[in-house]
């Protein structure tokens, strides 16, 4: 299940911003909504958010860069997140992460050259009793082993 995003469009972006800008403390809400629509937050959207919320560009940029979730460019077609926190480490997650990196030829945080897969670390999916865990395009997978991680990587590469 690949997420389908719209290409960045200023009018559509302005509509999304307007839809949420009346809420108190709306910055994160708007950034989430923009990323949900376009897959990332376009540089051009930052001053638009700032204007709508009566903030400076620097303030909005500061918020945007503070949080790990927000992207400044689109991710690969599939996003494979591997939990790298302690519970998954205890359950053999280190070796599985290294295996996924080797299979994809990218390090955690990178996107494959063909732009098919973005591989990312995530710090805890809250599936700590069925570790190690991963999330592929929003789908959760627990009790990972070599076979399952290979299948996930293959699925992401399709």
């Amino acid at each position: 299940m690949t997420a389908v995003y719209e290409p960045w469009d200023e009018t559509r972006g302005a509509d999304i911003i307007a839809e949420h800008s009346k809420q108190e403390g709306a910055t994160l809400v708007i950034l989430h909504a923009l990323q949900e629509a376009f897959g990332y937050v376009a540089e051009a959207a930052i001053p638009m958010v700032a204007q709508a919320l009566n903030l400076s560009r620097a303030e909005v940029h500061g918020v945007f860069t503070f949080y790990h979730d927000f992207r400044h460019k689109p991710a690969g077609r599939h996003v494979l997140k591997l939990c790298r926190a302690e519970a998954c480490q205890a359950a053999g997650g280190d070796a599985l992460a290294a295996r996924a990196e080797a299979k994809l030829g990218v390090s955690l945080g990178g996107t494959t050259a063909d732009n098919r897969v973005t591989l990312e670390p995530i710090y805890c999916l809250g599936l700590c009793a069925t570790a190690p865990s991963a999330m592929l395009d929003g789908r959760l997978i627990g009790r990972l082993d070599e076979k399952r991680i290979d299948a996930l990587v293959a699925e992401a590469q399709r």
């Binding site: 302690e86 805890c124 999916l125 809250g126 009790r143």
Partner: protein
């Protein structure tokens, strides 16, 4: 009569195939022409048995697990015939792992349909709020204080005192904020209760609002928990339809409404002041205290900010009385704690029990040791900021003060088990690395100290001037512990120093064996 089958929709169950099992059951029932009703519940918390599914029988619910899609046909036959099956676990309520728990907060989790307000009410839901409405603010405060409830997020601050401070504050607006930014590895109780019994959280927050005079609440849920976000939003909508949120709650003169806000992948936002900044739409920079959020919280207004489990404990306390809750526990740790057994553990999951159970009982007896079958070497209690304990400390009772006395913390109640393959140098390094990644950057000991910590531990791993660098790390840890603004920088030393103290051998290179000169 339609057969009722219960399949969890908890994220951990879904991660190991619960959705596929539900689909397979539906298809099979359609093929056989047998009408069934599938109820998607939360999880009972026996995670090693997930997907654990149940069927309603005249003698109560009978459980099966772990059920994979390939088992569905034979399990279904066993359900229809009430016959034996290798995965049949017997009456769900009689499963020893469940039966030995004291489920006050998690009583309904895994039992009811978390989307159904009627189901919640049929299982005792909203009894606490009804009593609260008849009691009034002062009497509620007395109950919460007398229950001895302490903040379940980790800090253990008495909830009654916090609420009283906000109740006494004068302001045009006050807020209730639920901290559902459960970022600690090894913890998932907040997630489970939001997915499995979301009305409980709503009831607890509504009660808080009524008590302190707040009409608006926010639940700040981390973005890593999309299923919890969905469950809470669905429950809020249902509560509004049912007259339990909005104007004139339950026919009273009182109004309260809730909104879910989603985090964006910053661990530090689990710190309450950072969370408030984030809710206000800013970078999650920690605020210096005082002023306390109780005086100057969200949007500068008096705010009750509590963890999910703290709010979730409230309805029981009000429905059954403070005494019924305070009768459980030990010392100053009253009531029950939903403990989460995680990592390399054979029987991992959610185990709610009175304070006082020992770490050894939890890991060896209840948890059954490691799933790799290798000896347990270390357990980290309380998330990434919690200490690593060796077996020698397994007699420590689960209690705020007992853990603190041994330079540890219970935090949010997560226990991560490691077998003898663990390299404690790596774990110490990771603690610093995680702090460096997640530091909000406001205070120097945390921002710079964590990076220097990673570098110095790396030197130790590489065998460079080991004893000098060990002393340096210890010194650095003291600076971070006493000089940081919040628990991220202040508690990162716990895993590091405990690893150094209890697993010293891992840090000191084995002496080179000298060949005896002939």
């Amino acid at each position: 009569m339609k057969m009722r089958i219960f399949v969890p929709r908890d994220a951990a169950a879904i991660a190991v195939g619960a959705d596929d099992v539900a689909t397979a059951l539906e298809q099979l029932a359609a093929q056989r022409g047998l009408p069934i009703e599938i109820v998607r519940t939360g999880s009972r918390g026996l995670c090693w048995l997930e997907p654990m599914i149940e069927v309603a029988t005249p003698g109560g619910r009978v459980a099966y697990g772990p059920v994979g899609p390939e088992d569905v046909a034979s399990v279904f036959d066993s359900m229809v015939s009430n016959g034996s099956h290798p995965l049949r676990l017997g009456a769900a309520d009689e499963i020893p792992w469940l039966k030995r728990q004291t489920r006050l907060t998690f009583a309904r989790c895994g039992v009811i349909d978390p989307r159904s307000l009627d189901d919640y009410r049929a299982h005792g839901g909203y009894k606490g709020l009804e009593r609260a409405l008849s009691l009034g603010s002062e009497a509620i405060l007395n109950e919460v204080t007398a229950s001895g409830l302490r903040g379940r997020g980790g800090a253990g601050f008495p909830t009654g005192i916090k609420w009283k401070t906000v109740a006494q504050a004068k302001a045009d607006r006050k807020f209730i904020v639920c901290n559902a930014d459960e970022g600690d590895s090894g913890t998932f109780a907040d997630r489970m209760i939001m997915e499995g019994d979301p009305f409980l959280v709503i009831e607890g927050m509504t009660t808080a609002g009524l008590t302190v005079g707040a009409t608006k609440g926010y639940i700040y849920i981390r973005s890593e928990y999309p299923h919890a976000v969905e469950a809470m939003n669905a429950a809020i909508a249902a509560a509004r339809r049912g007259g339990y949120l909005g104007d004139k709650i339950g026919g009273s003169a009182y109004s309260f409404d809730l909104e879910v806000r989603v985090g964006a992948g910053a661990y530090v936002c689990g710190e309450e002041t950072s969370l408030l900044e984030s809710l206000e739409g800013r970078r999650g920079l920690v605020r210096a205290k005082p002023p306390l959020p109780a005086h100057h919280g969200l949007f500068g207004k008096p705010t009750v900010i509590n963890n999910v489990l703290s709010f979730a404990a409230i309805p029981f306390i009000l429905a059954e009385g403070a005494r019924a809750y305070a009768d459980f526990g030990m010392g100053r740790s009253r009531g029950t704690m939903p403990i989460q057994l995680a990592g390399n553990i054979r029987q991992g999951g959610l185990f709610e029990t009175a304070f006082g159970v020992t770490l050894g009982e939890l890991v060896d007896d209840i948890g059954g040791g490691t799933f790799t079958g290798r000896p347990v070497r270390a357990v980290q209690v309380g998330g990434p900021l919690g200490a690593y304990f060796p077996r020698a400390l397994f007699d420590t009772p689960f209690d705020y003060e007992a853990f603190a006395a041994r330079d540890g913390l219970i935090g949010h109640g997560g226990i991560v088990v490691f077998d003898d393959g663990v390299d404690m140098r790596k774990q110490a390094r990771f603690a610093m690395e995680f702090c460096a990644i997640e530091s909000c950057g406001k205070c120097t000991p945390c921002r710079i100290g964590s990076t220097r910590g990673v570098e110095t531990i790396e030197k130790i791993i590489n065998g460079e001037r080991v004893s000098e660098n060990l002393a340096l790390v210890e010194d650095l840890c003291n600076t971070m512990k006493f000089g940081s603004l919040c628990a991220l920088g202040g508690f990162t030393p716990y895993p590091v120093l405990s690893a150094l103290k209890h697993f010293r051998d891992d840090f000191i290179p084995a002496p080179t064996t000298l060949q005896a000169a002939e």
